[in-house]
Amino acid sequence: MPVLLVGLGLGLAAPLVGALAPARGRTLLAGGLSAAAGVLAAVAALGVLLGGPVLRARASGLLPLAGASVRLDALSAAFEVAVALVVVTAALFSMGYTHGASASRPATALQASFALGLLLVPVAGDVVSFLWAWELMAVASLALLLVEHDRPAARSAALWYGAMTQAGAAAIMLGLLTLAASAHGVSWSALAAARVSGPLAVVAFVATLAGFASKAGAVPLHVWLPRAHPEAATPVSAMMSGAMTALGLYGVARVDLGLLGAIGRWWWAGALVVAALSALYGALHAATATDLKRLLAYSTIGAMGLGLIGLAAAGELRASGQGRAAATLVVGVLVLVGAHAAYKAILFLAAGLIERASGTRDLDLLGGLVRGMPRVAGLVAVAVASAVGVPLAAGFVGEWLEIEGLVAGLSSHDPGGVATILVGLVGLALASGLVAVAMVKLLGIGLLGRARSEGAARAREPHGIAVAALGLPAAATLAMGLVPGPVVAVLGHALGTVLGARAGAPQGRWDALHVGVTASTLRPLALLGGLVTAVVVLRGLARVGSRGVRAVVAWACGRSDLTARMQYTATSFAEPLQRVFADVLRPDIDTTVSPEEEAREIERVIAYQSRVGDAVEGGLYRPVVRGADALGRRARALANGSVHRYLAYGLVALLVVLVVVG
């Protein structure tokens, strides 16, 4: 317990130091304190995960209404570790990366507050503390977007983010207060004991799910995410993407799965369909995006969609009596959250380094970075391997567990259940295929090949802690991928909180991971052994017969004058997919042909422009925004500046109150 409290204390000190310290050393001090807070919180959480007692603390005077309460159980700990990994990495990174305007007092203090909010959400022990922590996280990140308020894109992103996050918070508050009112208590344990069910539970389910899913970027509540994540400063966008979205999943696991009593299984089936659609939508947009950070933001929607599929399927399966398959799914989602936190932190932070080194984050202008930035390229390759599900990296373990759980869920005789789970499996499969396209594009177009612009050709990687910090999540990725057994074994402790039972939890040893419901085993170390053997044999063969390697100019069917412009670009790479899914993406394609002056037959310049906007935003939100705007304009007639009219409003209001009350 002291470890956790000291950690949170350090986290609280970080914003104060950021606000008060002089410019020199401000980022170092605040970043160091945030990182230390993250490390201590992670240590406390690991203690709980390894079987330690649940940590509880209360301070009655600290917050209004119910006081502040801290509670660190296994579920909190699982998410706390993932969040702390991102927070520590981002804090260390910004010690070497942040300078200039983003190192101002407000920016430093806000970033430290955001980190504190992220660390507080999972350990909040009751509804009131949770809502405070949630608001701290939301408001700090919103204010961080406004730090660069001189850019229109950042302002518009902040507007969208502010509206969506506050609506989401209101929905969550509504749902949680509904629960608290019928449970006559605000602590998680009181709510869990009450097992609220019936219509009120459905209200709470819909409200909290909408709020949490919006935070996790579920379609159609995702519109803020692809705007806000790319616009924030790099360490902030890493924390938003790797940690904050994951807390949406934490909310679903904690409240909707963990606290609510029986609600109809069809509610979960509906959630599953939304989750599958959102995984597909995010992955598809990631595959067609050409802006590096936008690609990453959409792939976050895809990855969180996979997590939501797992949780919704777990809810459905538990309701139809297949708790063992549900257990596998929940553990899979927890692994996926950790894996995503690690690889998304690497990718976002690397994107920031690339942007700073080359001056652009447009994939169509990048390329060839592997020569100037070899260490960053290596780290990105590890992250990409994890994201696409290469066995031996963390992402695969999560995806594997989730598919095992879904297939176990398919083995029932209940048609409705099978059809629902099948939707989840299909969504997961197609989304993971599309994410693979996006990630290959990121690696192959962004980092390999030839530089497509001056900036990319000149890009060099910085030295020091900004790159070294990325080693932490990379190491976590490989460790979780190679030795997933112990990780899964300790994550199983969280099942009691989420599902109420631990039956069917995947079992892990140091060298193997066994899923009971599908009687299948994963042995990554044996796979690694086989792979190393194969590589050694192939290398040996090469030694025996070989005449070595000769560097040549690329052949390319006989052209010797290859230029960088002849390569495929990110736009052309995704063009086939964009065409296949044209109905969903609705791309805006513009082809301009300017003919040669003298001879009209010879086309001189063909300009091809393709822009993929967000169809949901255009189709669903624009009309609402326009309507609200029109309403606002009309409402202006109410306030025409006449004092008499305003006083009359007051009189009318008073009369109405009198009539209603009397």
């Binding site: 048609p415 409705g416 059809a419 099948l422 296949v580 109905d583």
Partner: protein, 218 residues
């Protein structure tokens, strides 16, 4: 019903459904009619196998009738229509092929979910398959809704009819012969009338693409 006969009924019933879905995939009108012929045979196989294992003579006669009408007469008539414009293909369907295939899969899922209570109408292994008949009906409707050519719409109609027939075979294990006879003859009549109609349309308009009929409605 023995294990093998049961497996045969399973396979034939699923074949009826899958051939219906395949109708959404093929564009060649002649191939569509060919699919219809095979679907008739699969339907007859369901009836014949059930008849053989239940020793039901009436159902056996029905099976023979299905072969003659649904795999013989009707497709032959349609082939004659199709032959008048050789190489005729379905123009771009209203919904593109991958989407309509995925939609068909969703419809089958829906049919299996809502058709589950059908099993309660009749005991036995074959009755459990009844949702497949319902699914065939829905797939036939999809074909009917999304196609532009009159002929492919006739095929859609016939797929619906085959779905209805499949459901009745599976549920009642033997419709009264007279009912099946009536139903089959109805379909035959529809095909004959449509064939005459199409011939007249072609004579007057030179084409049978339904999109061009929009101006005829008043």
């Amino acid at each position: 019903m023995s294990g093998l006969a049961g497996a045969l009924v399973d396979l034939a019933a699923v074949a009826v459904l899958v051939i219906g879905v395949a109708g959404l995939w093929r564009r060649d009108l002649r191939a569509l009619v060919g699919l219809l012929r095979v679907q008739g045979l699969a339907l007859a196989l369901v009836a014949a196998t059930t008849a053989a294992s239940e020793h039901d003579l009436g159902l056996g006669v029905t099976a023979a009738l299905v072969v003659v009408v649904k795999a013989g007469v009707v497709p032959t008539l349609l082939v004659r229509v199709a032959r008048r414009d050789p190489g005729a293909r379905e123009a771009a369907p209203l919904i593109n092929v991958p989407s309509s295939l995925v939609l068909a899969a969703a419809l089958v899922g829906l049919a299996v979910v809502v058709g589950a209570p059908l099993h309660a109408l009749a005991p036995g292994r074959a009755a459990a398959l009844a949702p497949l008949g319902l699914a065939t009906v829905l797939v036939g409707y999809l074909l009917l809704v999304t196609r532009r050519r009159a002929l492919s719409q006739v095929v859609g109609l016939l797929v619906i009819d085959n779905g209805v027939a499949l459901t009745t075979f599976l549920l009642t294990a033997g419709v009264p012969l007279i009912v099946e006879l009536g139903g089959t003859l109805d379909v035959l009549l529809v095909v004959v009338v449509l064939r005459a109609l199409l011939g007249t349309m072609r004579a007057h308009l030179g084409d049978v693409s339904l999109d061009q009929l929009r101006e005829l409605h008043d």
